[in-house]
Symmetry: C2
Subunit: 314 residues, 2 copies
Amino acid sequence: VDSPSEENAGFADRLQAAVEDKDTPCLVGLDPHLELLPPEFASARDLALPRSARAELLGNFLCQVIELVAPLVPAVKPQSAFFEALGADGVLQWERVLREARRAGLIVIGDVKRGDVASTAQAYATAFLEGAGERDAGARCDAVTLNPFLGADSIAPFLETCRRVRAGVFVLVRTSNPGGADLQRHGEPELSAVIADLVARWGSELPELTGECGLSGVGAVVGATHPAELRQFRERMPRSILLLPGYGAQGAKAEDLIEAFLPGRAPRGALVNSSRGITAAWREPRFAGRSWRDATRAATLEMIARMRKVLRAR
Amino acid sequence: VDSPSEENAGFADRLQAAVEDKDTPCLVGLDPHLELLPPEFASARDLALPRSARAELLGNFLCQVIELVAPLVPAVKPQSAFFEALGADGVLQWERVLREARRAGLIVIGDVKRGDVASTAQAYATAFLEGAGERDAGARCDAVTLNPFLGADSIAPFLETCRRVRAGVFVLVRTSNPGGADLQRHGEPELSAVIADLVARWGSELPELTGECGLSGVGAVVGATHPAELRQFRERMPRSILLLPGYGAQGAKAEDLIEAFLPGRAPRGALVNSSRGITAAWREPRFAGRSWRDATRAATLEMIARMRKVLRAR
């Protein structure tokens, strides 16, 4: 689907091209909680079935979601935990989903939140950014989320891999869950501010990861439920792409997110993610009576329309 | 191998019984770097082989290591990254290794360092502590390492699972890698001290996880290369089992670790891990000319003897 030149571009440029092509910074999180699968896939919860069959149903669901949203959004963000919960059979479906998403022209952001000492971090970089030992490397992510708790040398192997395979990272800076503040707001300046400065520095130290679009492949995850903090993080990381989870189910509204974007006509500098708001939309009363496929598509279009309206009003 | 009553005991009591049975707090880390496999398993690096065959070689190596060390140590600590680096085929071997270690009577501490929002953390707890969706649940860990960056609600699902399935956790408090200080020493008190206090509190709030041995199943990972800090962490977490990585290859000596142990005749309150020092011992000049199996066994016995000597000199 991508032209060779696009494939050869760095992560930031490929992402920005996809955002402009679809005219939206919205992405769809693929968090397949077994409990939230549509009734058609309910046997995935049936412990009497072999695990491989259960995992395959989960993969079938996600491949259909991918088919539905691929024409609408630039990227998907699969969450590895829900695949790992079905062991090796689940990871086989993870690989299937990565292949299918890339085949559909989507950029894949693996939500893996890994963080470990350097030699172990290198193994994770291989696992997620280089196709996990397969020769064709089709089952790989274009970028991953990372946990910075172990410091600079735990991130460095990923950055080196990004340079080599033109991938990206999103470092957790501030998370939107209730316990996010427990550690992340510790100290003066707050720990999250320290991490934000590190993210900006890692990006500056690796100019190869900054694209023609002016953005760096060293991005950050910033919880979208703290809009007052967004401006501060935007200023501390002027070239980073900010990945904003928490739209919809976790409570953030489109207007709350505007501070994360950079000036300009096209959406630039931030990505807005919704997971359950899309893949579990069929459960919401306003979609009652509609198929899960209709609900998924309608919820995606709704989110895109809301963000577009707010971005155009700037 | 375990009697039913031992199987029904909580994690802390099962671990302490195993430590006393083997009379050592030493455990063997299973970190199968492809580059560090003995020559007999070198084809695991051969990209011309199918990935499943490469992964199987890695599993064969580790099952032999397990057979060698099972009579000597109470527990093993497999590192998931090196399995994930071979994708679904690697995770199949991860499951094989967990089964094999448990069958050999070893306690399994999964070094997975996960940390995510609550619903995702629950999926990880299922993956690692409940057998990843398999009915027999044989491929499960007795405990896992966790990254606390996302705060209390990211740990809670693991603690609840521990209560239900009598498992344990080791929360990263201070890591021994060079970048460990980047975030972990931030603020006053240092972030690591804040986390240590949280670990102690989580343990107190869940008395069911404290065994008859007086130790809690809510443990901590404390980098063994900072001996001066060990006493402080021991005081802040009086009932936690401290998992000390970094013996051997990472530079810590037996004498440096003594502050982590609680008083008493038997080793109690701390575990000492060596990974490459054991599984890559065959590369060390002092074992030149010996088989990798001999070197593995000799290095394990050496480590046990050194720790025993230091513990007895207390």
